[in-house]
């Protein structure tokens, strides 16, 4: 007996529609299987995209999850302003974990280099415990970094928030296994399969508002480790670093101490997309100092519970 494998007709979905449907499916699976999910929200493009997709997944009902911002205190004012307006407009609940509170009561110590990105892990895990969140959505994408390329869409974290890449569950078809013991939680990455360019194209197609720092603007910046950093409470300029006025934009939003701007004149989505298309640098390589600390910087932070 020999059967012939069928060849079905062409799918009707284009790439962005397929990615959108997959992300919505993931949101609804988590809503169906978990008790206390939360969306990590930084005001950056990826988490703003997540919120947009969550709204679509449950419309016309409200998004059944709150947002959580782990606030390093090293913010761009435009981003905080954007965050608060978005939460207000969509009627969402927002929790904020201020890293400063952990520093003030001695649970964290400021690092000598002043960067607070690595300090986010403890407040994140403490807040997850305190609220008993069992599923934590993040805007991580597998194209960002090679350790993230290994990440499952629904990824188990142990009671200490740790990721063990060698013990990941296989993920088959679109059957996501979210079983977890009390105290454990999962991280959920609905836009795992999107690239930076997909994100930008979708933002353009859907008309999603972003903080203005993603578009070229004049800003006082100084040069450090080959990146343009803005002046701020994170320290700088130091020594012989000097402030210069430049036309810049940001490709990622993170802690101000280690998130660099790129020189750019792109003020519209079309221009940003053209610039990203032509760029010879990845977004993290171009603008994130924390990924340069070692060959396995991202993996090591993820193992500790970072996103």
């Amino acid at each position: 007996m020999t059967a012939t494998l069928p060849i079905a007709p062409a799918s009707a979905l284009d790439a962005l529609d397929a990615l959108e449907s997959e992300a919505i499916h993931i949101f609804r699976e988590v809503a169906g299987e978990f008790d206390r999910p939360v969306i990590l929200f930084s005001g950056g493009k990826d988490s703003t995209l997540l919120v947009h997709l969550a709204v679509k997944a449950f419309a016309p009902a409200p998004v059944p999850f709150p947002l959580l911002h782990v606030d390093t205190g090293h913010n761009y004012p435009e981003v905080i302003d954007f965050r608060d307006r978005l939460v207000e407009r969509l009627g969402l609940r927002l929790e904020v974990a201020h890293v400063q509170d952990w520093i003030d009561d001695g649970r964290l110590v400021e690092r000598p280099d002043g960067t607070r990105n690595p300090l986010q892990t403890v407040p994140l895990l403490d807040t997850i415990n305190e609220h008993r969140f069992d599923a934590v959505f993040g805007g991580g994408r597998r194209d960002e970094e090679r350790a993230r390329a290994k990440e499952r869409i629904i990824s188990l974290r142990d009671a200490f928030g740790r990721w063990d890449p060698r013990k990941q569950r296989p993920e088959l078809w679109n059957l996501y296994n979210g079983r977890h013991a009390p105290g454990e939680h999962v991280r959920v990455f609905p836009i795992s399969n999107w690239t930076e360019l997909d994100v930008w194209r979708y933002i353009q197609r859907e008309g999603i508002e972003l903080p203005p720092i993603y578009f070229a603007h004049e800003r006082e910046v100084f040069r450090r480790d080959g990146m343009w950093l803005a002046e701020g409470p994170w320290g700088g300029p130091r020594g012989n670093e000097t402030l210069k006025k430049r036309s810049v934009r940001y490709r990622t939003v993170g802690d101000g101490s280690c998130t660099g701007a790129v020189e750019s004149t792109a003020t519209t989505l079309d221009e940003v997309i053209a610039e990203v298309t032509a760029s010879r640098l990845t977004e993290r390589g171009a603008t994130r100092a924390d990924d340069r600390l070692s060959e396995a910087a991202m993996e090591d932070r993820k193992r500790e519970g970072y996103f």
């Binding site: 419309a59 009902a61 890449p165 060698r166 078809w173």
Partner: protein, 436 residues
Amino acid sequence: MTEHSRASNGTARDLLRFATAGSVDDGKSTLVGRLLYDTKSVLADQIEAVQRASVDKGLSTPDLSLLVDGLRAEREQGITIDVAYRYFGTPKREFVLADTPGHVQYTRNTVTGASTAELAVLLVDARNGVVEQTRRHAAVLALLRVPRLVLAINKIDLVDYDEAVLAAIAKDFAGLARSLGFADDAVVTIPVSALVGDNVVERSERTPWYEGPTLLGHLESVPVTGPEVAAPFRMPVQYVIRPRTDELHDYRGYAGQIAAGTVAPGDEVVVLPGGARTTVAAVETADGPLAAAAAGRSVTVLLDDDIDISRGDVLASAAEPPRVTDELDATLCWLAEKPLRPGARLLLKHGTRVTPVVVGAVGERLSLDSEVPTWEPAPEQLGINDIAHAALRTADPLPVDEYADIRATGSFLLIDPPTGNTLAAGLVGTPLAVAP
């Protein structure tokens, strides 16, 4: 396709999900590296990082495997431990590549990569031809019903671009593919050298006798099979949307991703396992109602009658419904170290429903050691990477299709209750053409 998907950014492109298979020494990492590199999907800082790490390791040329081996342990040991997903695009199409390790854990990884693939690139070394590993991978790809195959005959530079060598391997493989149930037009053979770049992205002048497409050309032009659009309608209900606001007081929408077929207002559907029948009133998305929606799309379905429907139920074509049963004959791909013993009480996830299950008798096991895959008598218990028939009894009746007919409603997971770990991939029926 929505109208705005093509707005202001040129033509809409589709998405091909594909997987690679083949043993390590066949040059799989080099091929993946070549595809990424020649499509300019590897950016300068990534290449610099690889160069830096290669120098640190005392190498004189960049080790391109460092581009893809993302974990500390992988780099330390120089092996690929786990499936990784890579992304690249061309002006014609976007690609998601499940990059699977070819090492010892072949079945587990190939099953994982193949479960979502619409095409698989199977590598062989031109010097060795079809070997045991090729047969194993081809059998697993056939079992998982990956619709299309590319046989990439690699290292043609090492056989002097000899047409006769390639023709012999292609003929050898065609016989194997046919015996596994692949239609002749579902398999394309391409001679490549991943190292030199012959016929991967650029056409090679050294193979004038080869008239087919380059690997990338084929990936760009092969029809995207996608989910089973032509099959009868199936949609597992994920979530019930009830806004409970004043103006939407009576709104009750059933949210899910269409697993197979199409759905449109006016269609008669049956709610399973209960069996109630009703008519589709509307198919909605956040962007508004749709005239019809096809497999792969996430939608919200509104029905004409108020029926008790919850997560785990399946909406299906009333004319061609799935079979509802609590006794399954299935094929299991055992993925876990923990062995399966007959009588085990586990959990089964099918669509959006999780139900207790008892594994009854384990039937024949697929032997991949011989020239042609064969079913051999049942072992005492299943171990990691075993593929075998088994009889299952579920606590709740499930609406199932044969995996060979509809992948989405014919597949399930077996889950270990105490740890929550995924133990097995399950396929309803016996979806491999090889006779017992």
